[in-house]
Each structure stands twice: as structure tokens, then as C-alpha cells.
Amino acid sequence: MATTLSPAPGAPPRLRPGRGGGGARAAAGRLRRAASRHFYAWLLVAPVAAVTAVLIGVPFARGLYLSLTDATEATVGRTVGADEIPAAYDVVGAGNYLAILSGEVGEFWPRLAWTVVWTVVCVACHYGLGLGLALLLQRPVRGRAAYRVAMVLPWAVPPFVTAFTWRFLFNQDYGVFNAALGAVGLPAVPWLNDPFTAKVAVIVVNVWMGVPFMMLALLGGLQSIPREHYEAARVDGASAWQRFVHITLPGLRPVSAPVVLLGTIWTFNQFPVIYLVTGGGPGDSTELLVTYAYRMAFSGIRDYGGSAAYGMLILVLLAAMALVYQRAFRRGGGAW
């Protein structure tokens, strides 16, 4: 709802007597009126505007600049003791971007492919399982509250604890999965030491972590769909599947649209699961774009310029995705 409470024109906020000087000359007067009219709003948003500009704007601008240079740990300016070592890197223009996009450094395309697979599979599982469980939990069933609390539990565990926990469960020698396999006479699986099973493992961890949020959000969405729609459909003889497709799914749209976008962004940028469960390994087979960019900046030669360019490319991808997504939903007539 558009709650417009801006002070009505002609009723300037109190507390500012004597300012404005009579409001005689037209242009200056209008400007001043705008300032006085929006004075409070601007005052109220000033702290966040300032913090955003200083803590995000400045580093972002610097990151953009770094992405155009060949800065590394060795060439970036710094102070060691009393000595000031000047910066010794050069602007290389689009060099970093070209090197990354041409596949010369950073294995961008294979990384992107895996990141997309990871995101699509994870979000599809989050949504599918979340929706399924929400539908089940919405039915009147004995012990519903208990089921619900149990299923929300994974969300309550801090992500790094989750990561360590699963790393233990997947442990090749002492993990519970291999113990279970052994108990029924099957050979142990080197979960985190084989590229394929490691990918499966990290997806499982992320799905486990992400389903509760989706489930709760969709449960809220389900409860906001008017009962009468179902009654009417039933009277018209609609089958269960028809009711699901024509009432439930469209009714969930205001909730689905934002949570799927949010979930996609979170999953695309997921850091702790990869970093703490596999460390990107074995080799770099589970490394996502984000964790790879991190490793470029904080291990080996600390390629600041390349890492910044990598990060910018990730942002461009995400922003493009979000834009397309929102367009598609607008056109579809969604309220969002």
C-alpha cells in the first residue's frame, strides 16, 4: 500500500519557524519549499545513505577500479612498520575481464556451468520439497505442530555448524553414511574425495539447509489463499490436480516470486557450504564462482585485480538474472 504521509503542501512541518524567508521569489521559493517539505524524510534517511555511501559505495568504486588493474598483494601499496611502500600496479583496462572471459585465467566458463547447475538443482529442490511439505503440513493432521518444529530445525542451526556437521557425516572412514552402507555390506563411498560425489554431497547439504525457509514461506502463502476459491472449484467439479494448477499455484505467486529470486541469489552466492564442507575440492571441482573469486584474492599470489573483476562479473550476471526474472513476472500479471 502506498502510504503517503508526506506533509501536505501548505502545512510545513513545525519546528522550523522563521526559515523560508516569506517565500516570495518563485524559483528559489519552490526549491526551498521542496527542501522544507522533504527535510524530515532526508534527515531520517541520512544515516543509512551515509553508511551506504561510505561503507559500500567507496569500496565498490575502489573494487571497480581494482578490477581494471593488475594489483596483487605484492604490488598494492601498504605500510610496513614505518616504511610506506607505494603502490606499484598498473591500470590494464579490460585486461582482467578479457583474460577471465577468454578462459585464460580462472576457468570462468566451467565454473559458471557448475554454479548454474548447483543453483538450479538446489533451488528446484528447495522449492519442490518446500512446496510439497507445506501442502502436507497445511492439511489437518495429528501432530502437525511437532512435525513443523522438527522440519524447521535445520534453519535454526548456524550455517558453519551445519557445514561441519555434514562434513563429519560424509567422513569416509567414520561418517554415518559409510557406516550405514557398511552395515548392509556395501563398500564405503569416498563422498568428499571424488568430484562427482562431492558435488552431490554439497547439494544435499544446501538442500537440507534451505528447505525449511521455503516451506515456512510457502505455508504462509498457502494460508493466504481464500478458502472460497477451493469451494467454488469443487462445486464446478474441478479435480484435485486442476485445483492445484489453477488455484494453488497462482495463489502462491506473490510469495513464490520473491522467495525464489531471493533463494536463487543466496544459492548462487553461497559461501560457507562450499568453503567449509569441501573447501572447493577435490581439486577445484566444487568451487563456485564466489568461492573461486575469494580464493583468487586470499590464497596463492593474492590476485586482487583478477578477483575484483571476477566479482564484478558475478554481480552483472545476478543483476541481469534479477532483471529478466522481474520482467517475466510483471508481464505475467503478478503483483510483484
Binding site: T3, S6, P140, M151, V157, L315
Partner: protein
């Protein structure tokens, strides 16, 4: 809330019921409970397993058999609390996450209010900025922030990390608080204005107290986000004395051999309080999130 039995939503394709009666077929009921039990089990088991492991004697995790209980003892807990820096890390995490939460709420509350109540030039750009910064991957700001902080001598300090976390917490809190304030009727403000309060006075005396539940939700989110952050903490904190839990625990998981006994005990100590609070407030969390994300 779900009202009557006969309005049950069909969940699975093909599970069709004759309309009307209050009971569902026995088989369907069994299937429903079966699925719910499996899902609950999958959700709970990893957590239960870690709790059980933490109660086993030291080194008992190195068992290739599945044993639920094996001489339960608090040895792992004694070890974690007594001979590691766990308590220091815990305190560090509290300081950083607490500081981040307090600062973020303090800064963001008025902005959320302004965005909810006023129309002003610059509003759209601000809203967009708040939204876009939420999709910043950690890789974008981390290098420049590292450089800036090291220039200011704030690497390996809690102040530096707190400032870093504000880049996450402030946009997010402002965005969510806007949703919170949207749920408070404008009539409250108007009444305040009629009674002669200034806009700031209205906000402070009338609106803010009413928004308390929403503020609590946002605070909780901000706290949890900072509490669980890994990437910045790992990059910016370099010594054991300043490490937060996310960094410190990594030490139990060495490259060669992980100390799973201690790790599991530490995990329980970290997750237990958070989990209790979380389960108590989860209903409000979702409502708060819906209010925050469902707009615009």
C-alpha cells in the same frame, strides 16, 4: 490457520477424495504420516547424530560402527571449554554480532520509517540501492574492504569486522523495517500530529514502541547473519585471540585429521541457544520476512 477438515488441499497428484466426509481413508492417512515422518527424520537426524557424538568419550567418534550410545560422558565438553579458546571465540562472536545488530538497527530504523511513510526525491534510488546490495557476492567488496581496513589499521580488529558487517546488515535491516512500519496504521501518525508531536516525536513516542515485535525480528535476523558469517571473518581475522566461532572452529578441522569429538561438542554449545530462541520465534520470523520482502 486452516479451518475445516473438508477444505483440505490436495497435495499429491492423483490422491483424489470423495468430497465431504471428515475422515480420510486409512491408507492415505498412513501415507501422509509416513511422508511427514521421513521428512522430519531427515531434518532432525544430522542434528541428533552430532549431539550423540558429542556425548561419546573422546576418540569414540573413530568408530566404524553405528552406535547410538557408548559410555556417555561430558569429556568432549570439558575439553572444549577447558583447553581451547572456545570461550574467547564465543565472546568475540557475541561482541561482533551484538555490535553489528545494535548499530544496524540504530542506523536503519529511521530510514525504514521514512521509506514507509514519506514520498521524497531520492526514494526510488535508495530503495534500489538497498535491494541491489543484497545481491552483492562477498567477492565484490571483500578485496577493497580489506585494503581500506588495512589502510586504517583495522585488520584483525573487532571494530573492523563490525564495520564490514554493517555493509550486510544495514541495507537488509532498513529494507525489512520498512515492511514492519508498513504494517502500522498511518492513523497513529496522524493522531500524533494532531496532538502536536513533531514527525520525529511521533516516530519516537508512538510508532517505534508499536514496532517492537518487528524490530525484534529484524534484530534477530541481523544477529544471526553476523553470527554465522564466514568469509569476511576468515579473511579479516588473523589471530586466535580475535577469531570468531566461525573461524575458530575451523581449527578443529585440520587438513590431516579433524577433531570431531571436540567439534561436535562445540557445535552443540553454539547451536543449542540459537536453536531454542529460533524455534520460539520462527512464526514471527516468517511473518517479518513476508512483510519485508513482499512489498514493492
Amino acid at each position: 490457520m486452516v479451518s475445516a477438515e473438508h477444505t483440505t488441499t490436495p497435495a499429491v497428484r492423483g490422491r483424489r477424495r470423495r468430497a465431504g466426509p471428515r475422515t480420510r481413508p486409512r491408507a492415505a492417512s498412513l501415507a501422509l504420516h509416513g511422508v511427514l515422518l521421513c521428512a522430519s527424520g531427515a531434518a532432525v537426524l544430522p542434528v541428533v547424530w552430532i549431539v550423540l557424538t558429542s556425548l561419546k568419550p573422546r576418540g569414540a567418534w573413530q568408530s566404524t560402527r553405528i552406535e547410538l550410545f557408548h559410555d556417555p560422558s561430558p569429556a568432549n565438553y570439558v575439553q572444549v571449554l577447558g583447553s581451547t579458546s572456545f570461550l574467547t571465540w564465543f565472546a568475540n562472536s557475541l561482541v561482533v554480532a551484538g555490535g553489528t545488530t545494535a548499530l544496524a538497527l540504530l542506523l536503519a530504523a529511521t530510514t525504514g520509517y521514512a521509506l514507509s511513510r514519506f514520498r521524497f526525491p531520492g526514494m526510488r534510488p535508495l530503495l534500489w540501492t538497498l535491494l541491489v546490495t543484497q545481491m552483492f557476492p562477498v567477492a565484490i567488496l571483500i578485496v577493497p574492504l580489506y585494503n581500506v581496513l588495512s589502510g586504517l589499521g583495522l585488520i584483525n580488529t573487532h571494530l573492523g569486522l563490525t564495520l564490514t558487517y554493517l555493509t550486510i546488515a544495514v541495507p537488509f535491516s532498513a529494507w525489512m523495517l520498512r515492511g514492519t512500519f508498513d504494517t502500522i496504521p498511518v492513523e497513529i501518525d496522524e493522531a500524533g500530529r494532531v496532538d502536536g508531536l513533531s514527525p520525529l516525536g511521533t516516530f519516537w513516542r508512538l510508532v517505534l514502541p508499536l514496532a517492537r515485535p518487528g524490530l525484534a525480528v529484524v534484530a534477530f535476523y541481523a544477529f544471526i547473519t553476523a553470527w554465522g558469517e564466514v568469509a569476511y571473518a576468515t579473511a579479516f581475522l588473523t589471530t586466535d585471540a580475535t577469531a570468531t566461532l566461525a573461524v575458530g572452529l575451523g581449527q578443529f578441522v585440520g587438513q590431516q585429521k579433524a577433531e570431531w569429538g571436540m567439534l561436535s561438542a562445540a557445535s552443540v554449545l553454539i547451536a543449542a541457544p540459537a536453536t531454542v530462541v529460533f524455534l520460539l520465534v520462527q512464526r514471527h520470523l516468517v511473518a517479518g520476512l513476508a512483510a519485508g520482502s513482499g512489498k514493492s
